[in-house]
Symmetry: C2
Subunit: 429 residues, 2 copies
């Protein structure tokens, strides 16, 4: 349940998608690492808040207690701490496992790919952060997924906002998780969840409401820096200063047109400590003025405390990264391919080796072996004496563009007849 077999047509499309993502990661100088699917159970515990219950555990068959990785970020932090690496730019594309309620039509599975790019190390503020946002922008542009928006925020700004609204620290994460829904449901419903389920006072919720509905650019940052309450909060001020720097860098990258500083962005994970961001695809809708969001396809942020949790001396390695939501993007591309009627070839065979009559198996085997040894992608039918028509039909069915035909006459003349299957033209060579 919640997993699936991928037939060749899937794999071809997925490989195409992953190749574009990897090309971008390499363009930014990242190296690839790989870690096991199996992690010690204790490595994963206490890293995912409430979602810890979604971790797949292995049976105790003797030896270490194991679990399947839940994401690639915690294994990355464990890897850095174990190997005392303080400086790396890496990508990792691999499957992760979650005992979630699958919603396969929306691209949510129990086994799915993550594509992560992270920069670890102590650097000047916001330079790696800006690159992660740039990468998100490049990938979504390269894949031509249509219009998109990258929302950015900072956990420190949220912390400051919550503090000045009189919300205790203990309610930070629960309140964030309510806020995360502002994407899908209107503020009134989010507000009543905050008051009803999360136990905020109606006044505090209203105060929050004034902030979290704000979004904009540098102008909004300037306004908030003038805010009499917020400007008194140390964390918020730090966050706003860095946010200003980030937007300046993104402006030099020429991508601010698709960036929105959005105070409602919270993101679920515990471990973020600074900048957070999330990319959503937009869809023009005839009935309303503004384009509507059709869901998040990438996200990331800064997590400066995670590596320290795995270091015996608690040494910190600041990190920032982005994860591309390949499964949702795959669903979109798949629908698009279906709609376009494009016939996706699942093999790359260039030529079928064909004999036009009986008793020529030996000639076929000799020729195909020559082709393979010359690096040419070639197939033949696994029949001693196949009919000519059947062989040509196989080309048409599987999209093989050429047939290399060798009969008695060709053998005598020391040539082959090369047939362009679509044009039905032949040359002797």
């Amino acid at each position: 349940q919640g997993t699936r077999d991928h037939p060749p047509s899937h794999v071809v499309l997925r490989d195409r998608l992953l190749a574009a993502v990897v090309a971008c990661f390499k363009r930014h100088g990242a190296a690839a690492i790989d870690t096991p699917v199996l992690e010690l159970r204790e490595t994963l515990m206490g890293k995912y808040g409430e979602d810890t219950k979604l971790i797949y555990e292995l049976q105790d068959q003797g030896g270490e207690l194991l679990a399947l990785r839940y994401d690639l970020t915690v294994p990355f932090a464990r890897y850095l701490a174990m190997n005392k690496i303080t400086n790396i730019k890496r990508y990792h594309i691999a499957k992760v496992y979650r005992r979630d309620n699958p919603a396969m039509t929306r691209g949510r599975y129990r086994e799915f790919y993550q594509c992560d790019f992270d920069i670890a190390g102590q650097f000047d503020p916001m330079l790696p952060d800006a690159e992660c946002v740039k990468i998100t922008h490049e990938i979504l542009s390269d894949l031509q997924l249509g219009d998109f928006l990258i929302k950015v925020n900072d956990r420190r700004i949220l912390n400051g906002v919550f503090a000045v609204c009189g919300i205790p620290d203990s309610k930070f994460i629960p309140t964030c998780s309510s806020m995360d829904k502002l994407d899908k449901i209107p503020w009134e419903e989010v507000r009543s969840e905050m008051v009803g389920e999360k136990g905020l006072s109606p006044e505090a919720a209203d105060r929050i409401g004034e902030y979290v509905q704000l979004h904009g650019g540098l102008d909004l940052i300037e306004r908030l820096l003038q805010d009499p309450k917020l400007s008194q909060n140390k964390l918020a001020k730090e966050g706003l200063g860095d946010m200003k720097l980030l937007l300046e860098y993104l402006s030099l990258f020429g991508i601010t047109g698709k960036i929105s500083f959005d105070l409602s962005l919270a993101r679920g994970l515990d471990y973020y400590t600074g900048v957070i961001f999330e990319a959503v695809l937009l869809q023009q809708n005839d009935h309303v003025e503004e384009p509507i969001s059709v869901g998040s396809v990438a996200g990331g942020g800064r997590y400066d405390g995670l590596v320290g949790m795995f270091d015996p001396k608690g040494r910190k390695v600041p990190c920032v990264g982005v994860s591309i939501g390949i499964e949702r993007i795959f669903s979109i591309l798949e629908q698009r391919v279906k709609a376009s009627g494009e016939k996706v070839r699942t093999t790359e065979t260039q030529v079928l080796v064909v004999t036009p009559h009986k008793h020529l198996l030996g000639a076929r085997l000799k020729l195909i072996s020559e082709l393979w040894d010359a690096g040419i992608k070639a197939e033949m039918l696994y029949k001693k004496d196949p009919k000519l028509l059947k062989q040509l039909q196989y080309c048409e069915d599987t999209g093989i563009p050429l047939a290399a035909i060798v009969g008695e006459q060709e053998l005598t003349d020391g040539v082959v007849k090369l047939r362009d299957v679509a044009k039905r033209e032949e040359v002797r060579m």
Copy 2:
């Protein structure tokens, strides 16, 4: 235990290796499929004989009882049966899991890659089988691993040999597993294991001994076809006939020089029903005449009954395939790279964007963004005002061949200075 993190230097080398393997699989017209790491526990039970105890089981957290796949062959057969596919040529490269005693120095892990190519379908005899052997030959040649030998045999021939030696069917698999050791230990020791542990009579063991020490080519097949006892056995005769056909096809492929029909080859797995083969690397040894084997690097065979085990009506789909022992090959290549002193680059960055003095961060961000958007692999240091020397040193350390330098003068002139890091030559452009 038994798993490992792969640092960038590993991944680069492994990707190089896998690219060669995939290129060969695609050259032979194979499509890729992917199946989940998780399988239903019942799917894996009863397929691996004694080794079933090495399967990793997941904890019962509610829902289906799951296990981690042990190889790619059983999931492939399950995939064919579930999707009623009767005809496919596919490859699958993925990790499998075994609760084995790890022997990491010899490349034996609990999590490791398998690279499988299989042909499923009802075809004329030995054509797909010959292609699998050809693929093995191509990959080992392409990877330049040194001299190798591909041993071939047939389960039906072994069956016949055992029958005429008076060994009951029930002892077929245990006797095969003793025979498998003939590679490493002399016949006398294998014989005493057969008699002592496996309960064969000394006479039966001696009769087997006469057969299993035979190896050769077409001549040996002819001799065995004349063997008064063996030629009376139906299975052996079938197997010998097909073996003759196989060697004829391999001769047309021009590869019989590295093929040995070897009656001692048994292979461990239960599910083989026909041809089996195994490739071993050979090492010239000064002290002995014959080259010695340094271990198996690929193997495969025909399994015509496996798919039927997953079909509710027991419909059979004949299959033959090969699995490339990528982990052992990786160990060999890794040692070779180490010995050669080759410095493997872990990133592909073409150019570092460099500023020679302060207050030029903006120029650097603008230029690098232009390069990225033009598809050029570019990096910069994540510092506002890095020293020129530090930047050039980074190029030397990481093997970046070019530095694009932009200072006040270059900005004024609208050019960049492109520096060849190794030659220390610069051009303005």
